[in-house]
Symmetry: C2
Subunit: 528 residues, 2 copies
């Protein structure tokens, strides 16, 4: 395979499972690249790949160069790591310390000399800078350095990442993303959201990630710098990011922090380790607290890496079975800030739909109104209005509440309700989350594959009602029979439906029932 090519195996939302080819083999994505200090790796490099299954790591080329000087041993030989080795350029150090003592060309040359697999030019990170003119400068300077670096590159076997800057300024991000994707980088990267993540500003992070995605070719692999908390990985992958580097596992370990996929614990708060990794099954929190610092850090770092590894696998499995939305939802329920971000996804539902959805093997779960914006469900409602028309010749519509069982028509069969598809009366089911399901569509995907927690949730009904209204606006029926349960929230919305239907003298009949609509349904069928 061509170096730098990205082969897709599966996708869901904007996330994907793929293979990124480098001169040292491929990296399966989504991938988290642990950041290693070659002079003091907390975890043995060999364990990372062989035991834990990490296919790639990242080394800070800037720090390495400062220590190694002119000694340019290839990274592979120096580290003895058999997978993909990527290098960072020192941008993070600029962010932390303001500047670095190296030029973009020096660090580029060094990365080529140590034969990195995936490298990055020395950009100027915007960071969490609210001053727009300074932010703009970082973007322009990064572009200038990109052009300078691209000219100076001599090796064609390295995958180079083009860093996108702009921080929290959408227009700058968009501009930077467009400029970087026009240049010949095999891979793009969103720089410096570290502070945004540290402040748990996940809603802002979504804006940043999706602004980038909307301004680059969707099939280009993208890296997110510094995103190492497993709690947010599913979200970042769902937003179309493929690789992540992180020193978090080590930084948290040094601060006596224990990572989980649902948050961070202080070691001192743990009564037991809720984990079955190789480390956690051997010791109790009390024992680990009593370890000397280096041993404690090593223990926590290894655990933290195991958790990152587990989450990567979980995300991968979720993508391949088309349930990434559900995983994002679960993780969102770990922290209010993540939940807020999850709810914010609905503002981007178009981009998710644009990327398409795979045919799912397993059913969809519908929990509550946020799920209405899940692409498969929203796509159904959109298509119902834009592409579907009622069958020719039908003049009357019977709107039946969607029953529990699937496919919906089974409910009619089981209750001896006669129906013919080609009748002048059209039976349709209404309800959460589809709005309207014409009986002839009740077995198409995803109608009969969706499991709904509670069809009577008010917020869901309110958000579904517009689809019913739009359906009535578009499809012209002489008479509409609206079968509605006495206590249902739909009852309260019926006047709005009536208003739409009674335009131009059409008729709208509300048929109330208690508990079971069958009797009333049969009456309608007999009388009309």
């Amino acid at each position: 395979m061509l170096i730098g090519s990205f082969e897709l195996r599966g996708k869901d939302l904007l996330g994907r499972v793929g293979k990124l080819y480098t001169k040292s083999g491929f990296l399966e994505t989504p991938a988290l690249l642990p950041v290693i200090d070659p002079y003091d790796p907390i975890v043995e490099v060999n364990d990372l790949s062989v035991k834990m299954g990490f296919q790639g790591i990242m080394v800070n080329a800037y720090l390495l160069r400062r220590r190694a000087g002119d000694e340019v041993t290839p990274l592979r030989d120096r580290l003895g790591f058999q997978g993909v080795i990527s290098t960072d350029s020192g941008a993070y150090q600029i962010l932390e310390y303001g500047e670095v003592e190296v030029t973009p060309l020096e660090i580029l040359e060094f990365q080529e000399a140590v034969s990195t697999d995936i490298g990055v030019i020395l950009d100027v990170p915007t960071g969490y800078d609210l001053d727009k003119s300074r932010a703009k400068w970082t973007v322009e300077e990064t572009i200038r350095r990109a052009d300078l670096s691209l000219k100076a590159m001599t090796r064609k076997d390295i995958v180079w990442m083009g860093p996108i800057q702009g921080g929290v300024h959408p227009d700058l991000l968009a501009y930077s993303a467009r400029e970087m994707s026009r240049r010949r980088f095999n891979m793009l990267a969103l720089g410096s959201p570290t502070q945004v993540m540290e402040r748990y500003m996940f809603k802002t992070l979504i804006d940043m990630m999706l602004t980038v995605k909307m301004n680059i070719p969707l099939d280009r692999p993208v890296h997110l710098f510094g995103a190492g908390h497993p709690m947010m990985m599913a979200l970042a992958v769902a937003c179309g990011f493929d690789t992540f580097d992180s020193a978090s596992y080590a930084l948290y370990a040094k601060a006596d922090r224990y990572l989980t996929s649902y948050g961070t614990y202080k070691l001192s708060d743990l009564e037991c380790f809720p984990c079955v990794c190789d480390e956690c099954v051997k010791h109790s929190p009390g024992e680990v607290r009593a370890f000397l610092k280096p041993r404690r850090v090593r223990f926590l770092a290894r655990h933290n890496l195991w958790v990152c590894r587990q989450e990567t696998l979980r995300v991968k499995q979720a993508i391949l079975e088309g349930r990434l939305w559900e995983l994002v939802r679960q993780r969102a329920n770990s922290h209010p800030a993540l939940y807020q971000a999850f709810k914010h996804l609905k503002d981007y539902c178009r981009i998710f739909e644009a990327y398409g959805t795979p045919v799912k093997r397993r059913g969809l779960f519908y929990f509550s109104h946020e799920d209405l914006y899940r692409p498969e469900l929203r796509a159904y409602r959109e298509k119902l209005i834009s592409e579907y028309s009622k069958p020719r010749g039908v003049r009357e519509l019977i709107l039946i509440p969607a029953p529990e069982g699937k496919p919906y028509r089974k409910f009619l069969l089981e209750n001896d309700v006669p129906y013919q598809e080609a009748s002048s009366r059209h039976m349709c089911f209404y309800g959460v989350p589809f709005g309207v399901v014409p009986i002839e569509l009740d077995d198409v995907y995803p109608v009969s594959q969706t499991e709904v927690s509670d069809r009577e949730e008010e917020e869901s009904i309110r958000a579904t009602a517009p689809t019913v209204i739009r359906y009535l606006e578009k499809n012209d029926y002489d008479v509409v029979y609206f079968l509605v349960e006495q206590d249902s929230y739909w009852r309260r919305l019926s006047s709005r439906l009536r208003l739409v239907q009674e335009r131009e003298g059409k008729k709208f009949r509300i048929v109330r029932f208690k508990e079971n609509p069958v009797k009333r349904l049969k009456e309608i069928l007999e009388t009309c």
Copy 2:
């Protein structure tokens, strides 16, 4: 410690971390007891305790007796298990096959002879029987057998469980629970919800569990028979159940099913193992699929047990830090049926409050309206109405929307808004989830410990508004200033507040603002 005594270490909701003392040492709860076939243990008994940390197991005394006949080797010697050994009586076999060839007294005698640590009398399980008269008979017959068995017991060093029957019939369950708790059983047990669980009727399961809890002493340890899926463990513990036995790990394994804390996978659907247990890190799903059946079953059984173990630890940690509600919420987001059950908890909020809440060490997370019924939050609102009265002498109320930061008064300080606690104007903050927070209470638990995802969620506002109304009804202010943001959903509710306040000629002033209330707030303070 006295055999059969139950020592509490921590509690949250109705769940607790405790120690149940037996003649073979204590069992830390919550505990899942893997069911072992002594003649064919899929997993080495020694591994269960030493490697995996299970302190207790369960053996089916009925099946053992059928095979062992008169050979009554003590279980400890036969199994070589160093922890707590409990025995089941054959009730499950009655459920499956209709009857068993043993009398209650024979199986009692056998359990004593093999020296079980925790035993159970031979009851008649109701199962999922909708015929009430038959269900009633199972309850009566179980009570009769309980009395018979209690009389025949000779050993005082065994913890005996009193099985509660009644199935899905609340009145029978309640009756059975009351009767059993009157008898001298150290421990109670809810029998035969297996079919209810198999059908994912978790909402019904909650009704069963909480009906039982409302009819037994809350401090008695309770076992739930046959509840072995990690996905529902947090929920069952939250409903006050302490121990669980399960053959699921093995049954699922035999059916090529892979358990996780969020659901069950078919082995054939797995692309990778999203787990870092001892088994999963060694093999890929493809490799395991190629194993011969016995090895495959062993692999899956061990993994399934690891997952059960992990979930037990997770639940324990959640209780000890007072975050069991949040864990239940997370698990609820694994399956629509669990979500439905989670929402159903609000119908039982009184019993949760009655059991009391520990002082939490970590903050509370508020995600959405379901969390309004979290005991700590509901208790605040209830106490605000029943116990709080406005300070003496205050005649005017200024209702300020709750700000982002905590404590709320910080917002005033930061914006140079003068306030005195002992003024004739009373400043209170209103909003989700507390309804009203008088400024002098803004640092009491849990007000300043709660992190809210979205204060503007309509459903949350609608459900919080009644507290504001009740507050106005109870506290008599001459004038109320209601500071409300233009676009807030609260704006739409202001007429309801006005209605309450304007009774008896009192005044209600709506003061609208855009984005920031500070300017308007200062105006009010100057003018009034």
